[in-house]
């Protein structure tokens, strides 16, 4: 099937439900992007497929719901859902946890699946909470420095060091056992 606007093959099939009857639209990637991107945000850097879909998928029921969702930020990296929707890139591994519910329909749309069945790493599949905490601590330390709260920054830096040391020790023990 061809794109409605040009000769390229249609890879996006969109069903608009805003009118009385559902309308089916068929676009190539370029025209889909043009159709779905209403306003150009100044921050926007070549919106990716995921960003464009995220914008269009009505994740909340109402505009208020969506506005509220947009405010939600990842505690670890600070990415807001609004940012994700407009740029199409996530901020850190933890986003897959804290926005899991919202990402799910998007991921189903792209991949037709929600569970990974392929290769797993041999090490470190035991969980990466420790590393996630490190990302968060580093960000908090940076913000403390920006606020000129050097005492706090220092405390966080100590915590980071301790976590890193403990992790190295754990890893060494792992290797001894393994």
């Amino acid at each position: 099937m061809k794109c409605q606007h040009c000769e390229k093959p249609a890879t996006f099939h969109i069903t608009e439900l805003t009118g009385d009857t559902p309308v089916e639209l068929h676009f190539c990637e370029e025209h889909a992007r043009l159709y779905l991107t209403q306003a150009q945000e100044p921050e926007e850097v070549a919106p990716s497929l995921a960003g464009v879909l995220a914008q269009q998928l009505k994740v909340g029921q109402t505009a208020e719901d969506l506005a509220q969702l947009d405010q939600r930020a990842c505690p670890v990296c600070g990415l807001t859902f609004y940012e994700f929707r407009h740029v199409g890139r996530l901020g850190c591994p933890h986003d897959y946890v804290c926005f899991a519910e919202e990402l799910e329909p998007l991921i189903v749309n792209i991949h037709g699946a929600t569970k990974h069945v392929g290769k797993s790493p041999h090490h470190g599949a035991r969980g990466t909470d420790h590393q996630t905490r490190l990302i968060q601590l580093r960000r908090e330390m940076k913000e403390a420095v920006e606020r000129e709260d050097y005492e706090k920054a220092s405390a966080i830096r100590d915590e980071i060091r301790e976590l890193e040391n403990r992790h190295d020790k754990d890893k060494d023990e792992d290797e001894d056992e393994g």
Binding site: S48, C77, L90, G91, Y96, G124, A125, T132
Partner: protein, 359 residues
Amino acid sequence: MKLEDLAEQCGEWLRGSGPESDIVISSRIRLARNLAEYPFVRKCTDQDRAQIERTLRERINTVSEWSALTYLDVDALEEVDRQFLVERQLISREHSESQGARGVAIDPSEKFSMMINEEDHLRVQVMHSGLDLESAWEQVNHIDDLIEARVTYAFNQRWGYLTACPTNVGTGMRVSVMLHLPALVITRQIEKVLRSLPKISLAVRGLYGEGSQAMGDFYQISNQVTLGRTEQELISQISDVIPVLIDYERRARDFLVQESERDLHDRVSRAYGILCTAQTISSEETMHLLSSVRMGINLGLIQDLGITTINKLFIHTQPAHLQKLRGVELGTADRNIERANYLQVHLRKQENGQDPEKN
């Protein structure tokens, strides 16, 4: 190994020696990975990026079988050098054009490269000549194992390998095959054939990756889905389809030879003629003509030119390669003249029976 050395040699996928290499130029597998203890690249501070780059570079350095790898600080390279790497498919356009600490490790035989701080912290790609997905997978899987033993990847049980863009999550694997389909283009069947691919969740792009025209009748087929299938299933999905496409192209070529050999021969010869004698020529026109000549060689209509030479010419007539080979920066007009010179020299040599190929 310096970039100038690379320019002279024939990269792996240019050899034109793999299976089905009259139509399949290369098979490529790329894995996207991120370190667990940093944000994704876009949300990284400069310091994060520097640390990631240093960590990965140092860990890669500890692998003994990679002692011959060349590591390049992409951020410190001149634009022409970055462009050179893009033309050679060793880094992506995005990697060349973005900002911030980033690097690439390159295998001397150019069978694989590892980009650091592209869209994800680590992107490993393996490229083989011809249709060779199974062995490309073995190689990239092995590389992944070696790195994974030295770092902690961002991974969770549900979503698999975690990537900056949800379009890559899960296996983080993009499998691509590059095909040369001039006969399908001439017989106007290309649209119909390509249109069928999205139905089996395969994407098609023109030469040189995302969003470009299908210059020179080269098409890259890749998987759209990365989650919910195993790596083997994703590879099978493409390797099942490629023989069908190859068959279509071969039949279209047979058809052209049977029904209009004279016209075909004429087209191919004229292309060869222009390439041999033009005084100035753009890279677009060059691609277009080289495509005809390449088909002509495959069909035995052009005798005195080899596939390796043609493959090389595709690359060496690109803007950055011309400049690196010449050793001087050139503006567009000068490049068009240089390109014409280069073509004359290399095509005429073949005619006179001299073989510039020493590899």
